[in-house]
């Protein structure tokens, strides 16, 4: 090759590179709590243990929106396995319409509801109540008037968990965005979560990894220690973090609960790394330190064996301390950073966290927040033997 021809090739290549570099972007395609979507997941809905939940859902578009919603009861049965009982219903929301209901009461269609009362407004349809003892999730799928999944990305929502004491915590529903071009494709009742920057699919793939910043289990609340010292005698004002996870795959047609094993990589403030793992079977809500330490001992009294703080509080024996990799006794710092990763070819998970700030009387205040995420499950497993992983939500067929 002549020198001139070589130079032409070099300059030509430069031109290509300049053009390619100009397309740099930060586009993403995972599930989100920042924008509205076509599938809303409320990972933690409870009407149990003196708690109830208020659901808020809004149509963010200027068109009528229909949604098919599913309550999934993940409360344990007599053998400790999740019930996985599903109850579904439909709602209709007019232009930009917000609606709400309390899960213990549901919402009846009653045009005579008084102005300013709980049922006032355009009723979105009959929303059934959940059974007492319900602990699980709510999932709403945007559909068209015929009931076929529709990728309009017009739903947003929040959940407020209230307690008998009046305490509240609030989190955003997690939205799975649809690719409007492909959502509702054949078979229409199967929603494939396989849309990524690398693959044209129906709905955005779930995250490959969840990020959780948390105070380490049992660390004394520094604000109580400083400003309300009498309520934190001997450091008895622990912060507890509860994590709720639901699999992205769900089969409502065949009533098959999905199972996902997740690994936890925990880094404390000293950059020390610890790990743990557990399996999410249908629905999981757990105190972080219960993941690897099911039992502990009350911090006061004779150190009775315990499985929950409530047991020790009821005995006036402090709190239930465990020897866990999430515990302050192990991590040794005030906060930690945990990465949550599904293993091998397991599907993705969606989660939310809730923090309990205790004082030594056993009273507490809660705060919930949404987890962060990175990557997507589809692309991350595309090159694995047997991959890629495609999570799917299978709705009951119309009949």
């Amino acid at each position: 090759m002549s020198k001139a021809l070589g130079m032409r090739c070099v300059w030509g290549l430069c031109g290509v590179l300049v053009s390619v570099l100009a397309l740099a972007s930060v586009t993403r395609a995972e599930v989100s709590t920042d924008v509205s979507g076509s599938v809303l997941v409320f990972p933690k809905v409870v009407f149990a243990g003196g708690n109830d939940t208020v659901i808020e859902i809004t149509n963010t578009s200027n068109n009528m929106v229909h949604a098919h919603c599913f309550y999934v009861n993940g409360a344990p049965d007599s053998r400790g396995n999740p019930l996985w009982q599903v109850t579904d219903f439909s709602i209709w929301l007019t232009k930009q319409q917000p609606t709400h209901w309390v899960v213990s009461a549901g919402r009846q269609v009653n045009p005579a509801d008084s102005f300013g009362t709980d049922g006032a407004g355009l009723d979105p349809g009959a929303v059934p109540p959940v059974v007492p003892g319900f602990t699980g999730e709510l999932k709403c799928v945007q559909v068209d008037a015929s009931g076929t999944p529709f990728g309009g990305n017009n739903l947003k929502g929040e959940a407020v968990i209230t307690s008998a004491s009046g305490d509240v915590s609030k989190h955003n529903a997690v939205a799975i965005l649809a690719n409007p071009d492909l959502a509702g494709g054949d078979p229409a009742n199967q929603l494939l979560l396989d849309n990524t920057p690398e693959h044209d699919g129906e709905y955005n793939s779930c995250a490959n990894q969840l990020y959780l910043d948390h105070f380490v289990d049992g660390t004394p609340d520094p604000v109580v220690q400083e400003f309300n010292e009498g309520a934190c005698t001997d450091g008895q004002c622990p912060i507890r973090t509860y994590l709720t996870l639901v699999p992205c795959t769900q089969d409502f047609e065949n009533q098959l609960p999905a199972e996902v094993t997740v690994q936890f990589a925990i880094v404390n403030e000293m950059e020390q790394v610890f790990s743990a793992s557990t399996t999410v079977d249908c629905w999981l809500t757990t105190q972080l330190s219960s993941i690897d330490a099911p039992t502990g001992h009350c911090s006061e009294g004779v150190g009775a064996a315990c499985t929950s703080d409530e047991q020790c509080i009821g005995l006036s024996q402090g709190f239930c301390n465990r020897n866990s990799v999430f515990s302050v006794g192990t991590l040794g710092t005030g906060s930690a950073f945990t990465r949550i990763s599904p293993v091998d070819l397991d599907g993705g998970v969606i989660g939310v966290a809730e923090e309990y700030h205790y004082v030594d009387s056993g009273a507490s205040a809660r705060a919930a927040w949404n987890l962060q995420q990175t990557g997507n499950r589809y692309d991350a497993t595309a090159d694995l033997p047997g991959g890629p992983v495609v999570d799917a939500i299978t709705l009951p067929e119309n009949f």
């Binding site: 090739c9 030509g12 430069c14 031109g15 053009s19 390619v20 570099l21 100009a22 397309l23 740099a24 930060v26 993403r28 395609a29 920042d34 924008v35 509205s36 208020v54 809004t58 007019t94 319409q97 917000p98 609606t99 300013g116 006032a120 407004g121 355009l122 929040e158 004491s165 009046g166 305490d167 915590s169 965005l177 649809a178 071009d181 849309n195 990524t196 920057p197 990020y211 910043d213 105070f215 520094p222 604000v223 309300n228 309520a231 880094v267 403030e269 950059e271 020390q272 790394v273 906060s335 950073f337 923090e355 700030h357 004082v359 009273a363 507490s364 205040a365 705060a367 962060q372 990175t374």
Partner: protein, 418 residues
């Protein structure tokens, strides 16, 4: 063929490849630039509060999610207002008539304090803003990585209490301390109040003697490869910066743009929510901060930004109102269209008595300035905080608001260089 011709042909070939790649590229449905879901280069904590007299403090969590040593340049902004005729007295629009001497006005404040620190591989940090962190965990002991990494710097406490304000943290290069194009930061803020029940003075106004609410810091992502040029001016969005894709302007966007519209679901003020375990009355506070900041000249933004509100109740009835924000605004929803404080709240479009339904949805749009240089978008960010009052007292909950799209104009954050 000349060299110039070679470039043009190459560029054409590149364009053709891009067209082919573009048409084959999967459709990504996620148009927002700012995020509370993912890590980012800029983190904004829109509301911090500390008031030792009330047993109140804010716990900040900040994490480097990467495996690399990372440096962070943070700015506390003290937004306390002070009486015009008693500068030592802190005031708000609500209590100005009671705390300021007769005739005094409450002058909004905007005072920044900045600090720098390093975070080692995947290191989380937490601190209270009332105390700061005089010594970082790995200041003298190395971390686990190879080569071992150390923390540098420290975190000062806020300089005035009671404190109301915000925190902005920018990821910078470890060596040059200039903004980088990495997106490795995540964070949360927890506002805790605790006092001895039952009178709870000082402290949380509830029988538990403790209250807590938490929200995710809002992240603004850096655009990879775009941190050259003018390092002390961070262009947030801007000309042709739609969804992070930019053109080859001389001063292009370096960070993704702020959202065009904010959407939030909320209870109308005074809504009585009856659940299966009790009942409470709800009021909501909205905190709005501009995307633009001038930490270089230590001045608040110029002209106030007008924010338009569209409000829908559960009858699909539409209402609207507006307000203005200069550098920080924390307001009860009912005060947006009435005088600050309780009087008049029952007549607000955010009152349950006016709306007739318990919940509503609001769309917030800030009005952009004249498009002179492409960086006068007047973008805003926000969080919402609810107070539930029942027989057991007051409990609060915070939530992040949602975003829709981004706008053509951008905003600028101006920072001092090392």
């Amino acid at each position: 063929m000349s060299t110039k011709m070679g470039i043009w042909r190459g560029a054409l070939a590149g364009a053709a490849i891009l067209l082919a790649v573009g048409s084959a590229e999967a459709r990504v449905i996620d148009p927002t630039g700012v995020t509370t879901n993912e890590t980012a280069a800029i983190l904004l904590y829109p509301l911090l509060k500390a008031n030792p007299a009330d047993g109140q403090d804010t716990l900040i969590q900040l994490t480097n999610t990467s495996e690399f040593l990372t440096k962070v340049h943070c700015f506390y902004t003290n937004t306390n207002g002070h009486c015009s005729n008693a500068p030592e007295t802190i005031c708000t629009d609500v209590d100005v008539s009671t705390v300021c001497p007769l005739g005094g006005q409450c002058i909004p404040g905007w005072q920044e304090t900045d600090f720098r620190l390093t975070l080692t591989k995947r290191q989380p940090l937490s601190w209270s803003i009332n105390n700061g962190l005089s010594s970082l965990p790995l200041a003298s002991t190395p971390g686990q990585g190879s080569p071992p990494q150390f923390n540098e710097g420290n975190i000062p406490p806020v300089l005035e209490v009671p404190f109301t304000g915000e925190l902005l943290c920018i990821q910078v290069d470890v060596t040059t301390e200039l903004p980088t194009d990495r997106n490795d930061l995540k964070g949360e803020a927890t506002i805790v109040e605790s006092g001895a029940p039952p009178d709870n003075a000082p402290g949380a106004d509830n029988i538990a003697g403790i209250d807590a609410n938490k929200y995710n810091a809002i992240g603004i992502k850096a655009i990879e490869g775009r941190q050259d040029g003018n390092p002390n001016v961070l262009n947030i969005g801007g000309p042709d910066a739609e969804y992070g894709v930019f053109d080859e302007d001389s001063d292009p966007a370096r960070f993704v743009g702020c959202p065009n519209v904010l959407t939030l679901n909320h209870f109308f003020d005074g809504a009585n929510v009856v659940t299966g375990v009790g009942s409470s009355t709800v009021v909501s506070d909205l905190v709005i901060v501009p995307c633009a900041n001038d930490f270089l000249t230590q001045t608040a933004n110029g002209a106030p930004t007008v924010v338009q509100f569209l409000v829908y109740n559960e009858f699909e009835q539409r209402f609207s109102t507006s307000t203005s924000v200069q550098c920080f605004k924390e307001t009860q929803l009912s005060d947006i269209d009435t005088l600050p404080g309780t009087p008049g709240n029952a007549f607000s479009i955010y009152s349950v008595g006016v709306e007739g339904t318990l919940t509503g949805t609001s769309r917030l749009r800030s009005v952009a300035g004249p498009n002179v240089d492409g960086y006068d978008a007047n973008g805003i960010l926000a969080i919402i905080s609810e107070t539930w009052t029942g027989p057991g007292g007051d409990y609060t909950a915070s939530a992040n608001v949602q975003f829709q799209g981004s706008r053509e104009q951008g905003d600028q954050i101006k920072i001092p260089l090392p």
